[in-house]
């Protein structure tokens, strides 16, 4: 439906996307006792870490191979080996996830090959699982890096099977980068309500949900246990949330014959209905639990109350494709008009399906310009959109990554019946908060003559 526009310009103004390695780092943080390791220069890691810390308000154990000029030219295999050794000494992680950066990719290092050699040589590394994903900064954004990392994990850890040996109570839940910890939690709750047990990958809902824990391990504070990941081969089904998870789901099917279905969105009535119907089929439950039914009835009512504030509203949205699609279609189904859509990566079929005329592959500069031209009434993007919101005098609904000028970003839930309801309220209340007091001039009328105004006199007693 929508056509993809590549703006003809050399200058990018106010970046929209976060880098691909950062997406990979987040995936690795969704594995228990893990440390993400950037194969690049120290700065690649420092910027990403500050970005993550600003968003999650958590200490993030992100490490670097600290490439210098010499190692960059001569090759970084030694740096990787040294980094793994030091990390093991320091924190004894179960899992180290390596993400390449533009620097090492430009040089063209054969990291998988080098890594194989290192791991063969270093038997002492055996109790740490090391996974590598190629995530050059120059290709795609956070969502792409996220997808590459999940694909790398399932490729490395899900065993090849020749026949099905399914645990019919277990389903894989592959979570895309657009899901917050609270989103994942809501999906887990929904799946469990049908008597099914989700194997969540990656599970940032237990590591980056913002909790105080008793230990300081220097690793991720929760997440999918590494030992559980091979069990994905025994799941009855894979629920892939977000188009970006199709690749990983396909890999699991190819390796272990686990069928999958991609849910391009789980925000809004129809998409959640589709998920629920699938869960009904998987569990054989014709009559879902009362809480699920009540949540749907409440979403209907929320939609009725919210539609006065969504109908005809011109919305500008800038986000990674999956998030843009989920929120955009949910709002379009409520009668809102998507007048501006800006996204970060062309590697997705969702652009065609966006309910708008065009999708710009661009930045927040394009976003601001286009939103102003199209007369948008509300902006949806991450915190950096605040400058555009300020200049255009428009409300900003913060969604995506990073959100650094509001706390609790990890607790915002926009999935499932409950999260969809919250999203409609959030949107409608932002619209209502823009209180415009009409004036005669709005309608082209002359002001009321001043002669009629009261001229206050000091009170007499």
């Amino acid at each position: 439906m929508a056509k993809l526009i590549h703006p003809r310009r050399a200058l990018s103004t106010n970046p929209l996307k976060s880098s691909a390695p950062l997406g990979a780092a987040l995936v690795y943080l969704g594995i228990a006792r893990a440390i993400p390791l950037f194969h690049g220069s120290q700065g690649c890691t420092a910027f990403a870490m500050v970005h993550l810390v600003r968003h999650f308000k958590e200490a993030v154990p992100l490490q670097t191979t600290a490439m210098n000029e010499v190692s960059t030219i001569l090759g970084g295999a030694d740096q990787i080996e040294e980094a793994i050794e030091n990390l093991r000494k320091k924190a004894a992680p179960d899992f180290i996830g390596i993400a390449s950066t533009a620097l090492t990719e430009t040089r063209g290092e054969d990291v998988p090959g080098e890594l194989k050699l290192i791991l063969r040589r270093r038997a002492d590394f055996a109790d740490t699982q090391v996974v590598y994903a190629s995530t050059p900064d120059f290709d795609g954004g956070m969502q792409d890096g996220w997808a590459r990392a999940v694909e790398a994990i399932v490729t490395a850890l899900v065993p090849e099977m020749t026949e099905r040996d399914s645990d019919l109570r277990q389903v894989n839940l592959l979570c895309g980068s657009h899901l917050t910890p609270a989103d994942i939690e809501e999906l887990v709750r929904l799946i469990r309500a049908f008597g099914l047990e989700p194997l969540v990958l990656p599970d940032i809902s237990t590591s980056l949900d913002g909790h105080v824990s008793d230990d300081w391990s220097g690793c991720s504070q929760g997440g999918t246990p590494v030992a559980r990941i091979p069990d994905a081969a025994r799941s009855a089904f894979t629920l892939a949330i977000g188009e970006q998870m199709r690749g990983a789901a396909q890999i699991i099917e190819d390796r272990a014959l686990v069928p999958y279905r991609v849910f391009q969105s789980v925000t809004g009535l129809k998409p959640v209905d589709a998920l629920v119907r699938t869960l009904m089929g998987l569990s054989g439950v014709q009559d879902p639990p009362p809480s699920v039914k009540r949540d749907r009835a409440r979403l209907l009512d929320a939609a009725l109350d919210a539609h006065f504030h969504t109908g005809g509203v011109k919305v500008a949205i800038a986000a990674d494709p999956d998030l843009m699609f989920a929120l955009g279609t949910a709002l379009a189904s409520m009668g809102a008009e998507i007048v501006t859509a800006v996204t970060t990566t062309p590697h997705t079929p969702l652009i065609d399906r966006m309910p708008c005329e065009q999708v710009i592959l661009g930045d927040l500069g394009d976003f601001e310009r286009q939103a102003a031209e199209a007369g948008a009434q509300l902006l949806i993007t991450h915190s950096h959109g605040r400058h555009a919101a300020h200049r255009l005098h428009l409300p900003l609904l913060r969604a995506g990554f990073p959100i650094f000028d509001r706390i609790g970003a990890q607790d915002v839930c926009r999935t499932g019946y409950r999260g969809s309801r919250a999203f409609l309220y959030e949107f409608a209340n932002l619209m209502q908060a823009q209180h415009h007091r009409a004036t005669p001039q709005d309608f082209g009328a002359a002001p009321i003559p001043e002669e009629f105004d009261h001229d206050p006199q000091p009170t007499r007693h």
Partner: protein, 553 residues
């Protein structure tokens, strides 16, 4: 009830300007039109509510409600009358009478002190003091207090004597008008008068509706001198006696004011509406004709006709794009008064079908107009119980309900689009340009894709085609931590009737797995189900497959 108030009510009820009243028998006319309310079946506001609604849009006045908290505390800040000047009218002032005040008879003293405080704090051009049931019952003399306060503080304190129990909202409107006639109108002289000065009575400038019409008046050189009470300043009420013509907007609510302005000051009045295109034109025509009769330049008539022709052509051109989006849609109108007919013509013109309109609070004239516009009276109805309306909306297959806030949820819960056309609405629909806003609202309501989604069946309304046998629960319940019993058995789920025999969810949540279809009558288990907990390849292929994605989300 004091004798003064009693005779005031009798006077208000005996309204020669009201055809309804004039047509009554002599005896009945004296009784007035106070319909006794039915306990247990009454809806709508009281006289105080009516008085407050009529006067609150006077923007620079301090509106002080002499009452226990409910009258103001539950009722303030609930209407969208817009102001282009002072925002004082939005502030809720009340004496907040307590038990002690009432028992000890401190009401009058408290009112006097409250008047002093509000005048010192706000320095308003005037304070309107609203009487309510409790002070009226215990005999507070607000007239005397207001008189004393006016003398002492030098700021007019105007008593508005319409305690709730004397009658309906409509009566309250009229009593408020009487208070203006008795105490305000004629107290201030304008700096200059022109032959183009008018009064507008009975409009409240909700969401700025007056301003949608004002550009038309501006272009004709007509000045709104007096206003009761759309975007009005106190002085504009006090100067009403100097206008040349009065336009009475909201049917008969303030007819006593219009008639007495004519009786006392010789200002003729006409009844008009700015809802709908032809009505706006008609109102402008009548206004100009009457101004010319009272001394305005006769060229005004030509200018008026030219303006009407230009505006009508322009507005139809603007409305035309909506035709394909709204044509054929069936509308149920549930409002009252002049609104029962004033937008019907325009909706019909754009191809919409008005399947019914209520004629509550409508006069005989209003009803006549309905018949005139809709061809017969079959589409007219009076009050309708919410239950009946719900049924009508579901059965008669209306596409849209246009009404006030009270019936909003009848429509919404029937999953029926709804457009607010009463006083709580947030958008102005007056004059020519207001029709575009109204059509936009209708378009937005009926064409929202949400309705189709909302009306579609829930996932569980369609029976499953495939059963499943799940292994017993293992491990601990993630919520309670209660471990699954070692005796847990596999659970079989079956679609269709089998699901009816046993609530499947009950089976899934019980950690001990006691509830299992294995214990249910064998007849409920269809033989075609796989008997092994492991799915056969055939059963797997029947699961939602990875070759199909959800295209419906």
């Amino acid at each position: 009830m004091s004798d003064a108030l009693k005779s005031k009510i009798a006077d208000v009820f005996d309204e020669p300007g009201c055809d309804h009243n004039v047509n009554k028998e002599e005896r009945q006319r004296k009784k007035g039109c106070a319909k006794p309310l039915t306990p247990g079946a009454a809806a709508g506001g009281c006289a105080f509510d009516g008085a407050k609604i009529a006067l609150q849009p006077i923007v620079d006045v301090a509106h002080l409600v002499h009452a226990p908290l409910a009258c103001e505390g539950n009722g303030w800040d609930n209407r969208g009358a817009a102001s282009s000047g002072s925002e004082r009218y939005r502030t809720g002032f009340t004496t907040d009478l307590t038990e002690l005040d009432i028992v000890m008879g401190h009401g009058e003293r408290k009112l006097y002190r409250a008047l002093r405080e509000v005048i010192e704090a706000e320095q308003p051009p005037a304070v309107f003091v609203y009487a309510t049931c409790v002070p009226a019952l215990i005999g507070d003399d607000i007239h005397a207090v207001c008189k004393a306060a006016t003398q002492t503080f030098g700021t007019p304190c105007i008593p508005v004597n319409a305690p709730g129990f004397v009658g309906s909202k409509n009566l309250g409107n009229k009593l408020a008008g009487e208070a203006m006639l008795d105490h305000v109108i004629g107290t201030v002289e304008p700096a200059e008068t022109t032959p183009y000065d008018i009064n507008i009575v009975g409009d409240y400038n909700l969401s700025g509706e007056l301003w949608q019409v004002k550009p038309l008046l501006d272009r004709l050189g007509i000045r709104i001198l007096g206003s009761l009470a759309a975007d009005a300043r106190y002085k504009q009420v006090a100067m009403m006696h100097r206008a040349k013509v009065t336009m009475m907007v909201c049917s008969k609510a303030l007819i006593n004011v219009a008639r007495k302005l004519e009786e006392r000051y010789g200002i003729p009045y006409f009844e008009g509406s700015f809802y709908g295109i032809s009505d706006t034109s008609e109102a402008l025509r009548t206004m100009c004709r009457m101004l010319v009769e009272r001394g305005a330049d006769a060229a005004l008539l030509d200018r008026c006709e030219a303006l009407i022709a230009e505006e009508e052509a322009a507005i139809w051109a603007q409305l035309e794009p909506f035709r394909p989006r709204v044509a054929g849609r069936r509308v149920l109108l549930y409002t009252g008064g002049h609104k029962s007919w004033s937008v019907v013509a325009a909706l019909q013109e754009l191809g919409m079908e008005v399947i019914g309109t209520s004629v509550r609070k409508a006069t005989e004239e209003d009803k006549g107009r309905v018949v005139e516009i809709m061809g017969d009276d079959k589409h007219m109805f009076d009050n309708m119980a919410p239950k009946d309306m719900y049924r009508l909306l579901k059965e008669a297959g209306a596409d849209l309900l246009m009404s006030g806030g009270r019936s909003q949820f009848v429509a919404l819960k029937a999953k029926m689009p709804w457009v607010d056309v009463n006083q709580e609405k947030h958008e102005p629909y007056a004059g020519y340009m207001g029709m575009v806003d109204l059509l936009r609202a209708i378009d937005r309501a009926v064409n929202n894709p949400m309705w189709e989604e909302l009306r579609s069946p829930a996932p569980w309304d369609t029976p499953l085609e495939q059963g499943a046998i799940l292994p017993a629960h293992r491990g601990a319940c993630p919520v309670t931590g209660v471990p699954a019993a070692a005796t847990a058995r596999p659970v079989t789920y079956a679609p269709g009737e089998a699901a009816g025999d046993l609530p499947p969810h009950a089976a899934t949540v019980m950690p001990n797995g006691a509830a299992s279809l294995a214990e249910a009558p064998p007849s409920s288990v269809t033989p075609s189900f796989p008997t092994s907990p492991t799915l056969s390849p055939a059963a797997l292929s029947a699961l939602p497959s990875s070759t199909t994605d959800f295209e419906d989300c």
